[in-house]
Symmetry: C2
Subunit: 167 residues, 2 copies
């Protein structure tokens, strides 16, 4: 397979998969493109490669930078900005996990705690509701903690051992 063909296939598929993960298609495609790029790309390069508008490119590059998985790069003697992806996959996984925890798990915890604590438990229904939401709260919290710990200690011996055991 030609390089261009393979790259295209990869970028397109990654975009489609991104949609399922609640990440927009273009954002996933830009990230895919930068992941397999030898060298930094300019915004023009990205627009050209993906056939997207300037605004779209700008917004999604910015989002990737906010996630901390794409970096701006300055080339000597060049006015334009260039972009590269975080290529250390452990680092990438950690940043994605943290961002999703912040955006999706923390708000869930907040609501669960609120409704569980505030609901009127005089009725049977209310009691059951409080019980269920409390259990959910504890479970989600535990899960979030495990993710946090796993990302925190990714390099230490313990985790390496666990990884080995689990493989």
């Amino acid at each position: 397979m030609e390089f261009t063909e393979a790259k295209n296939k990869f970028v397109q598929t990654w975009g489609a998969l991104g949609s399922q993960w609640g990440i927009n298609k273009t954002m996933a495609q830009i990230h895919a493109l930068l992941m397999v790029s030898n060298e930094p790309l300019s915004m023009e390069d990205i627009m050209e490669e993906l056939q997207i508008s300037r605004g779209n490119a700008s917004m999604n590059i910015r989002a990737l930078i906010d996630w901390g998985i794409v970096y701006k790069e300055f080339k000597h003697g060049e006015r334009r900005e260039f972009f590269t992806a975080e290529k250390d996959l452990d680092e990438l996984a950690i940043k994605i996990a943290k961002e999703r925890s912040k955006r999706e798990i923390k708000p869930a915890l907040k609501v669960l705690k609120e409704v569980s604590a505030d609901v009127d438990t005089k009725t049977t229904e209310g009691k059951y509701f409080a019980e269920q939401t409390d259990k959910l709260y504890e479970f989600v919290l535990k899960t979030d903690n495990i993710i946090e710990k796993a990302t925190e200690y990714k390099d230490n011996w313990l985790t390496k051992l666990l990884m080995k055991m689990m493989k």
Copy 2:
């Protein structure tokens, strides 16, 4: 807070969070509703509670059943079907993990393997591409395996120990 108010808040928020996770709003809401419901609900109940159409209710209940996290229930002497949610949270997490692995990770692995193996590596670009996609493949595979093992052994002593260590 009144039970009805708390329930509403929970169901609405869960729906909104579901969207971010790539799960449609109604599906998340139905699941939320069943999670905090004392007893099985009929399709009518669900339609009424969420103010949605019959078709919408039917499609999303079916999707939840396909995921294996909602069950049909038959009440003695009742013609209608009733529905309940899987309320064992470990079981719920496992089913969700398996379903997402099947739908989202496996296809990613497939593409990564394909493009990594098939790309023409005569050029520098091609070489780099093959290298990067291969690394990604290995990483995603490893992650998927960890999830698989973690769900498989959820009840045994080793996992319990790990959970404790990680808490």
